[in-house]
Symmetry: C2
Subunit: 111 residues, 2 copies
Amino acid sequence: METLLLDRRTQGLIEGYVPEGELLFSLTRFFSIFADGTRLRILSALAISEMCVTDISRVLGINQTTVSHQLRFLKDVGMVCTERHGKIIFYSLSNEIVNDILLKGVEFLGY
Amino acid sequence: METLLLDRRTQGLIEGYVPEGELLFSLTRFFSIFADGTRLRILSALAISEMCVTDISRVLGINQTTVSHQLRFLKDVGMVCTERHGKIIFYSLSNEIVNDILLKGVEFLGY
DNA sequence: ATAGCATATGTATGATTGCACATATGGGGA
DNA sequence: TCCCCATATGTGCAATCATACATATGCTAT
């Protein structure tokens, strides 16, 4: 998946990497998760502590069905994982990288 | 901007950070840049070498007006910067963090 | 088994967005 | 000055998406 580009100024060939095809699709789907305020708040809350749907709904003041829908997305892309305790299902971040990216975003914005 | 959450399992209070308001808005806008294939390809190309609108358009096979529109977004959020040489305007990544985040995404997906 | 709470799903809608067409601006060279 | 190339802007369309309503499923305890 390597790309050759011509550097207009040096007139030399440069080797690089421009994602295409399946990787490109997966990347956009992955990053689109971060592109919504509701999901960002849910992810941030889960970065603090694992929680169940109802707790997230109450703490963040978001409709329960909305939270459930969004958590499904998050699970589909592998960002959160679940652990059942009785009738309660605990959601947590499945990967450090998710939190890393959140922090990179905050860093970029200079906060 | 700190939030107190109750950990359902330990019953203890946890200090954390859930972005709200302006930061939340800026974060979603920032990450939404990565949520589109065209922009992702443009950013990846610029990570290899600075380029002008026409070159990007040719190398990636994207309509010139589309490239221009997207570069405006990228400039508005501060992801790219420009340098004029005569009538040609060179675009380049303005920050390492942008490329870091791209790589984090690839890493998450296991590529 | 049945009541009650936790979670998930189906669906309609309002809003957002990526794109390309046509066109406009702007700089450089003849 | 006039033409050409590089870049930017206006606009409309098609597609996607976030949300909330209503409802369904699933687990637990009595």
